[in-house]
Symmetry: C2
Subunit: 187 residues, 2 copies
């Protein structure tokens, strides 16, 4: 019978991230991750399908969050207002785990195949957002443009936030959406 391990999932994630940072994602092994967390490989695989899932787990929850927030906005909300609400909720979630988010990004920036995975993840989230906007009656290409430009704004805001100590991620997101408005208006 499996022993109950207090916060095994969190300890494994922290141990994994430390090893990815120290040795590189490709070099770190599940055995080492489990050892550092004081747990077994078997426990690792009860929580994560593989090494990559430590970095990319929980995506269904993100898709659901984005769909739900967009659907919940009042009928009067413009597409970008609905998108902005979803991005803010996403940003608040990321901000709760700032250290993890920052370390995770350093690991990803150091590995081309993880960068590709991250790109695919963001594109897939944009597709979910576009679909939720269409369900509100937003037509194409507005739905896809709002979704893709919005996710680009979040990504750019995120990159600025993890390098800055002094401001909240939500502030960077609001700023990015404002700059997006200004820059797309000046043609």
């Amino acid at each position: 019978m499996a022993r109950w391990e207090p916060d095994a999932r969190g300890r494994l994630a922290q141990a994994a991230l430390e090893l990815y940072l120290e040795r590189g994602f490709d070099q770190a092994t599940v055995a080492e991750i489990a050892e550092r967390a004081g747990l077994t490989e078997r426990t690792f695989f009860r929580h994560y399908g593989d090494k990559r899932e430590v970095l990319f787990g929980g995506q269904e929850a993100l898709h659901e969050l984005i769909s739900k927030i967009i659907a919940e906005q009042p009928d009067s909300a413009a597409p970008m207002a609905a998108m902005g609400a979803a991005l803010t909720a996403f940003a608040e979630l990321l901000a709760q785990r700032r250290d993890f988010a920052r370390q995770r990004q350093i690991v990803i920036d150091a590995n081309a195949s993880l960068q590709e995975r991250e790109l695919i993840k963001l594109t897939s989230l944009a597709a979910t957002a576009a679909s939720a906007l269409r369900e509100r009656g937003v037509t194409e290409p507005a739905a896809s443009l709002a979704a893709e430009a919005g996710l680009a704004a979040l990504r750019i805001a995120f990159a600025r936030w993890i390098q800055a100590e002094d401001r909240e991620l939500t502030e960077f997101v609001t700023e990015a959406l404002q700059v997006l408005e200004t820059v797309t208006a000046g043609r």
Copy 2:
């Protein structure tokens, strides 16, 4: 000594695309491509590094085009105006090879790893555009936002164009940039 083969490169590309459409990208072999083009495998490898390069070749030229067009715009041009000029030049290039572009897209849409490659290609073009904008003195996050939103607009315009017989790609690009402006303004 290599025999001179009239338009070997074009014939190989056409044969490859036909086979990718008929049998799927993964199933088609270089031997079959060469045979269909009436050429040798050796000739194939004089023109393309591998099967994938038939679909993704010529990227340096695209990066150069985007950088050059953005750099050439008058000092008075707003970031999105410079970006729009680059997108229009890119669109004109694609439009010259409409059949190839359409068939290529069908092949890519049918294959997850080619979709990833395409995504990486577009992200890399956005990075080049952002860099060219920064060289014009555009600050961040405006440069990255203009570049990423602009490339998203091109991608969305392209997807609409290959399904529509009646309008030019450049019209779809102009429309997408207009919708982007409208949608980002309504927050």
